[in-house]
C-alpha cells in the first residue's frame, strides 16, 4: 500500500504545483498590466 499512496500523492503534488505555477504567472501578468495602465 505504501507505493500506491506514494504514487497517488506524487500525482496530486505534480498537478497542484503546476496549478500554483500558473496562478503565480497570472498574478505577475495582472501586476504588469496594472503597471502598463498606470504608465
Amino acid at each position: 500500500m505504501r507505493f500506491l499512496y506514494l504514487a497517488y500523492i506524487a500525482t496530486w503534488t505534480i498537478h497542484i504545483l503546476y496549478i500554483l505555477y500558473l496562478t503565480s504567472r497570472y498574478r505577475r501578468l495582472r501586476e504588469e498590466r496594472k503597471e502598463l495602465e498606470k504608465e
Partner: protein, 267 residues
C-alpha cells in the same frame, strides 16, 4: 467560456473525486499484484491524455506553419506544457509501480526508454520556447514539435513490436489480454476525470499565453511611441490624445509620457 469556468471546475472536481472512489474502493483487487495494481488507474489515463495532448500540439504546430496564427501557436504551447506535466506523472507512477512488482525501479526496455525520450523531446521544446529569442523561435519550435511527435507512435507500438519488461497492451493485446469489466469502469472514470483536468489546464495556459503576448505587444508599442500604438489598433485613447496634442500639424514636440523607450519583457 468565462461564464462556464466555475461550472467546469466543479464538474472536474466531482469527476476526479468519483474516479478516485472507483479506483480505490470499487475496482476489484488484482490477484497477483494486490492493491499496488491500483496505480494503474492513474498511470494509464495519464499516458493516454499525454498522447492526446502531444497530438494536439502536433496539429496546432502544423496549423501554425500553414497560417502563422497566434492562437494556434498559443494552443501548441499550452498542449505541450500540460502534456509534459501528464508525461511526468507517467514517468513517476511507473517506477513506483515497478519497484514492488518487478523488484526494480527502472529498466532500459523499449517502452520505458521511448517514453523517457518523448518526455525529453517535449521538455526541450519548452526550453526552446522559453529561452530562444528572435523571430524564428515559433517556427523552429513548431518544426521540433512535428518531428518530436514521431516518437508517440513509437512509444505506443513499442510493447507490440519489442520484447519488453512492460506489460502487454490491455486493448487488442491478443490472447489473454484485457481487463475485468469493473476495472474498465474505473479506468474510464479516471480517464474522464483527468481528461477534464487537462482541458481545464490547457484552457488556462492558452489564455495566459495570449494575454502575455498582448502585454508584450503593448510593451513593444510603448517603446516605439504613440504612432505604433495607434497602428496596432490597441490604443487606449491616451496615446491618441497625445498625438493630437503633440502633433497637430506634424511638427509638434515629442510625446511626453510614452516617449521613453522601454525594453519588452521576455516571454
Amino acid at each position: 467560456m468565462k461564464r462556464f469556468f466555475p461550472f467546469f471546475v466543479l464538474v472536474t472536481l466531482a469527476l476526479l473525486c468519483y474516479a478516485f472512489y472507483q479506483a480505490m474502493y470499487v475496482a476489484p483487487t488484482e490477484s497477483t499484484m494486490g492493491d499496488v495494481q491500483r496505480i494503474f488507474y492513474y498511470h494509464l489515463p495519464h499516458a493516454w491524455v499525454a498522447f492526446l495532448l502531444f497530438f494536439t500540439n502536433f496539429l496546432a504546430s502544423i496549423w501554425y506553419l500553414v497560417r502563422r496564427s497566434e492562437r494556434s501557436d498559443a494552443l501548441a504551447l499550452a498542449s505541450a506544457e500540460v502534456g509534459v506535466v501528464f508525461c511526468t506523472v507517467v514517468l513517476i507512477t511507473g517506477p513506483l509501480w515497478a519497484r514492488p512488482v518487478w523488484g526494480i525501479w527502472w529498466t532500459w526496455d523499449a517502452r520505458l526508454t521511448s517514453t523517457l525520450v518523448l518526455w525529453l523531446i517535449y521538455v526541450s521544446y519548452l526550453v526552446l520556447r522559453r529561452f530562444a529569442t528572435g523571430a524564428q523561435t515559433q517556427v523552429l519550435s513548431a518544426a521540433l514539435a512535428i518531428f518530436g511527435f514521431v516518437d508517440v507512435p513509437i512509444v505506443y507500438l513499442s510493447i507490440r513490436y519489442f520484447r519488453t519488461q512492460h506489460p502487454q497492451p490491455v486493448i487488442a493485446g491478443g490472447e489473454g489480454s484485457g481487463l475485468d469489466p469493473r476495472m474498465w469502469t474505473a479506468v474510464l472514470w479516471n480517464l474522464a476525470g483527468f481528461l477534464s483536468l487537462a482541458l481545464l489546464l490547457i484552457w488556462l495556459r492558452y489564455r495566459l499565453a495570449l494575454a502575455e503576448n498582448a502585454v508584450e505587444e503593448a510593451h513593444a508599442n510603448r517603446a516605439l511611441g504613440p504612432e505604433a500604438e495607434m497602428r496596432s489598433g490597441k490604443s487606449d485613447g491616451r496615446a491618441e490624445a497625445e498625438m493630437r496634442v503633440t502633433k497637430p500639424d506634424g511638427r509638434g514636440s515629442a510625446p511626453q509620457s510614452s516617449s521613453a523607450p522601454k525594453v519588452g519583457k521576455p516571454r
